[in-house]
């Protein structure tokens, strides 16, 4: 028994040390860090405050863990019955002094932790009256839209990587979370923070980033079939780079697609839900540009849809992506360039699970 217990303790300790060492050596990039006892260093002021609190609670927990597990293992090794010893041990029924001690001391510890925790919560909740940038985040089954309303920019995710949110460092950013279908959760491990995206209410919070870089985020509240693919990227840049990026995107949004030659073939396609297109097959003539008149039949407030064509070579590249997305109730005409004869797969970039077959002859 004693040997087994010592062997366990040893291997557990070895595992713990290994995990700590691996954690310390690994390149600590949020979203891509080797799992260990500590989260990757947070890139927001608020997250850093919360992480110091985490570390404090962690070391208190380790101290209690070592104390209590130590007492258990000591009792197990020291007080086991020896062979042939049938005498009753002393029948102790309790001790008021000890019992008061292990009621009052833990009580003081939890009161202290509560006060520290509330102090940190104040920092996390603090907000500026006129934040320089506001981002409206909309989660829907199973994609994200990021709206920079003051800048006139909107990005909806495509495919399973989702959209990218570009943010300036050193400035307060105000977030507003919206949903029109089920509950999602806006979670960026690098922020050491998440907030639920709840239909029927708008959750708001402020964050201040202080480190440039690219960080992953993903939906953290189970929201159905495509939950695991509801990812996005946060790109933190300097304020100057941010302004340049805004100007570039505003320019790109103004560009108009080239008009279609008259007499081109026109195909009709529609979508009414997030499971499948209403039509599963389309056919077009080879070597000629054609139009796809795409109708999003979702009720008002429903998700956007889109028409895109996958590269038949099998890679995840898209041959064609319809711009802009068709919002609920909208009809959009996409001009598709000439394609070689063959069989293609078309998809909704917002909902990569929605697919159909396009035959070009």
């Amino acid at each position: 028994m004693r040997r087994a217990a010592i062997a366990w303790t040893r291997s557990l300790l070895a595992l713990a040390v290994l995990a700590l060492v691996v954690g310390a050596c690994a390149e600590a990039t949020p979203g891509n860090q080797v799992p260990n006892f500590f989260p990757a260093p947070a890139i927001t002021d608020q997250g850093q405050a919360s992480e110091s609190l985490y570390a404090f609670i962690f070391w208190i927990a380790v101290a209690i863990f070592v104390l209590v597990e130590g007492l258990i293992i000591f009792a197990v090794l020291r007080y086991r019955r020896r062979k042939g010893d049938d005498e009753l041990p002393v029948q102790t029924h309790g001790s008021m002094g000890f019992e008061l001690a292990w009621t009052i001391v833990p009580f003081i510890i939890v009161v202290a932790l509560f006060i520290l925790s509330e102090n940190t919560q104040q920092k996390v909740d603090a907000s500026t009256p006129n934040p320089p940038l506001t981002v409206d985040v909309t989660g829907f089954q199973w994609q994200w839209t990021f709206d920079y309303k003051a800048q006139g920019l909107s990005f909806t995710g495509q495919g399973t990587d989702g959209p990218t949110m570009v943010l300036p460092v050193g400035e307060d950013v105000h977030f507003r979370l919206h949903s029109n279908d089920v509950i999602h959760s806006f979670y960026v491990p690098g922020f050491f923070f998440k907030k639920d995206v709840v239909p029927g209410r708008t959750n708001e919070f402020d964050l201040t980033l202080d480190q440039t870089g690219t960080y992953t985020g993903q939906c953290a509240e189970f929201c159905g079939l495509g939950h695991a693919d509801m990812r996005f990227t946060v790109q933190a840049v300097s304020p100057a780079d941010f302004s340049a990026w805004v100007a570039k995107e505003q320019e790109a949004a103004k560009a108009t697609p080239s008009p279609l030659p008259s007499g081109a073939q026109s195909l009709t396609l529609s979508a009414s839900n997030t499971t499948a297109f209403d039509e599963s097959t389309l056919s077009a003539t080879a070597g000629q540009p054609f139009a796809v008149v795409f109708t999003n039949n979702e009720a008002a407030g429903g998700p956007p849809h889109d028409f895109a064509i996958k590269d038949p070579a099998g890679s995840s590249n898209l041959l064609f992506t319809g711009q802009p997305l068709a919002q609920a109730g909208q009809t959009v005409t996409y001009s598709v360039p000439a394609l070689a004869a063959g069989t293609y797969t078309f998809i909704c970039i917002v909902h990569p699970n929605m697919t159909g077959t396009l035959t070009v002859k």
């Binding site: 799992p35 997250g47 863990f65 939890v110 998440k194 959750n203 953290a220």
Partner: protein, 552 residues
């Protein structure tokens, strides 16, 4: 005066199957509860193996998303409502009347009804797989995802199954309460009740207050889904957060419903195998009652990230509830202190419980701290925490209880050597499966995802999968142990463990109506008092002879 000797009423000879199907004997019903719970544990375990197999490889497409979502929803629902709850109800059904010296439960036929509802509701729940998909909105079934627009017929079956299951719990709880209050043996005052009986009592009160709240929530969800109600769907003018408030008002007391009787089992096993009384009996009763009361004031700590919670109150209450739980932990260690510990399999599981439950308890301090909870909630960290409480806690205690009471239930000893292998495999499997999940959660892995991309998450997921299969192997070996034990001739003595409480003062298994005679009850350890007259205080009396069934 001539006496007439009435012939003893003979029963019709019935088949054993008929005996079991129609029995109202609390012992047979208790055994059926335990057997059905082990059956559902195997089903729930298979679902878990599916989950762990899928997660062993990044971007795995072995199990389609739609099926994966059913797996974890049904795993949680099965383990909570069809394994842990009925298992503890089964132990309570079997041991509690014996421990208080009663002949049966207060309402034997209602007792049979409470049991038979379980397999029926289980069938209803699992029939979803045959009707186009079982429930797949998670065991918490958050609205609007659980509304008709987003979830199929499996969700309706889930609602109906849980309504039935809840009815079984409420009937059972009332039965327990009446039995404890009205059928105690002479001398068995409230402060001489074995601690297991106290935990059953508090659990029954929690059930009576919490389960009707779940039932009303389920009815509202059913109306939403089928008759166009608008309770929980914002698109119809309802409130998505309302469901969470209703669900967790039940759901957090539910955690204590699943852990308090486990505390009770540990509080019986540790003193017996330490050969000492429980350290601080009254503090233990007080701690159990205060956990029961505080347990109703912490539900919204499941909802910190919704932005719809008054954080300081629920944070403070959650921190506070760790104090009575800590008292119990120290009292258990003090019970072993200076004892003479016998490491039977049951005792090993009890020590395994202490070691593992401590981790689950310490995790609570992180989750109670709102800024930290914002990061760890809904990640694998929480999956780790809840399994350290429900597997490291409840399931380990259930194993301790099974090895402890098995000889009494069926009159046969389980093989102790096989038992120790079972304990070792299960304890190691438990740590391998659930400890790495803490680290995965801190690294940002959300729960309930059917696939993940970062390859750095793979090694620990593989460790967890190996752990899960280790647990499965230990369970197979345990079932084999039970199977071979049942095929042996009855060999268990009345009191194989040199125990303290009344169930060991009758034969193994006990006769119908339990006792030929009862020892005098002068403390929470009546059998110990009987065996050690030298320790008695002066005013002694011989064992009181009572006729079977007169428990008043």
């Amino acid at each position: 005066m001539a006496t007439t000797v009435l012939p003893r009423a003979t029963t019709y000879s019935r088949s054993r199957a008929y005996e079991w199907l129609t029995t109202t004997d609390h012992k047979k019903i208790g055994i059926m509860y335990v057997a059905s719970s082990y059956f559902f544990m195997c089903l729930g375990g298979l679902l878990a193996l599916g989950i762990r197999t899928q997660l062993a490889v990044p971007n795995d497409t072995l199990i389609p998303n739609a099926l994966y979502n059913q797996l974890f929803t049904m795993h949680g629902t099965t383990m909570i409502f069809f394994f842990v709850m009925p298992m503890l109800a089964g132990f309570a059904n079997y041991a509690m009347p014996l421990m208080i010296g009663a002949a049966d439960m207060a309402f034997p036929r209602i007792n049979a009804l409470s049991f038979w509802i379980i397999p029926v509701s289980g069938l209803l729940l699992f029939s979803g797989f045959a009707f186009g998909g079982a429930a797949s909105a998670g065991w918490t079934s958050y609205s609007p995802l659980a509304e008709a627009k987003y979830s199929g017929i499996g969700q309706d079956l889930w609602i109906l199954a849980l309504l039935l299951n809840g009815m079984s719990s409420i009937l059972g709880a009332i039965n327990m309460l009446v039995t404890i209050f009205k059928l105690r043996a002479p001398g068995m005052t409230m402060l001489r009740l074995p601690i297991f009986v106290w935990t059953v009592l508090v659990t029954a009160v929690l059930l009576v207050f919490a389960v009707p709240v779940l039932a009303s929530g389920l009815v509202m969800l059913f109306i939403d889904r089928n008759y166009g109600g608008s309770f929980f769907d914002p698109a119809a003018g309802g409130d998505a957060i309302l469901w969470q408030n209703v669900f967790w008002f039940f759901g957090h007391p539910e955690v204590y419903i699943m852990i308090l009787p486990a505390f009770g089992i540990i509080s019986e096993v540790l003193p017996v195998f330490s050969r000492k009384p429980l350290f601080g009996y009254k503090a233990f009763v007080l701690a159990t009652v205060s956990i029961g009361v505080l347990g109703f004031g912490v539900w919204a700590h499941h909802m910190f990230a919704t932005g719809a919670v008054y954080l300081p109150f629920f944070s403070a209450a959650t921190f506070l509830i760790s104090v009575p739980t800590g008292v119990k932990m120290f009292n258990w260690v003090a019970t072993m202190w200076r004892g003479k510990l016998r490491f039977t399999t049951s005792m090993l599981f009890a020590v395994g419980f202490l070691i593992s439950f401590l981790i689950g308890g310490l995790d609570g301090a992180f989750a109670a701290s709102t800024p930290v909870d914002f990061d760890i909630t809904d990640t694998y960290w929480v999956v780790s925490h809840l399994h350290y409480v429900l597997f490291g806690g409840s399931a380990m205690a259930i194993m301790a209880g099974t090895y402890y009471w098995f000889p009494k239930m069926v009159g046969r000893m389980l093989d102790e050597r096989l038992g120790k292998v079972h304990f070792t495999l299960m304890f190691v499997g438990l740590q391998l499966t659930f400890f790495p999940m803490h680290l995965l959660g801190l690294a940002g892995m959300p729960r309930r995802i059917a696939e993940y991309a970062p390859t750095v998450w793979q090694p620990l997921n593989v460790v967890a999968t190996i752990g899960a299969f280790t647990i499965a192997a230990s369970m197979l070996q345990f079932l084999w142990n039970m199977f071979t034990a049942l095929r042996r001739p009855a060999d268990a003595p009345d009191d194989p463990w040199d125990a303290n409480t009344l169930e060991w003062a009758t034969s193994s298994p006990p006769p119908p109506y339990n006792f030929e005679r009862l020892p005098e009850v002068r403390s929470e350890r009546p059998l110990f008092d009987l065996k050690h007259p030298e320790l008695r205080k002066p005013a002694t009396a011989a064992a009181v002879v009572v006729s079977p069934g007169s428990g008043h």
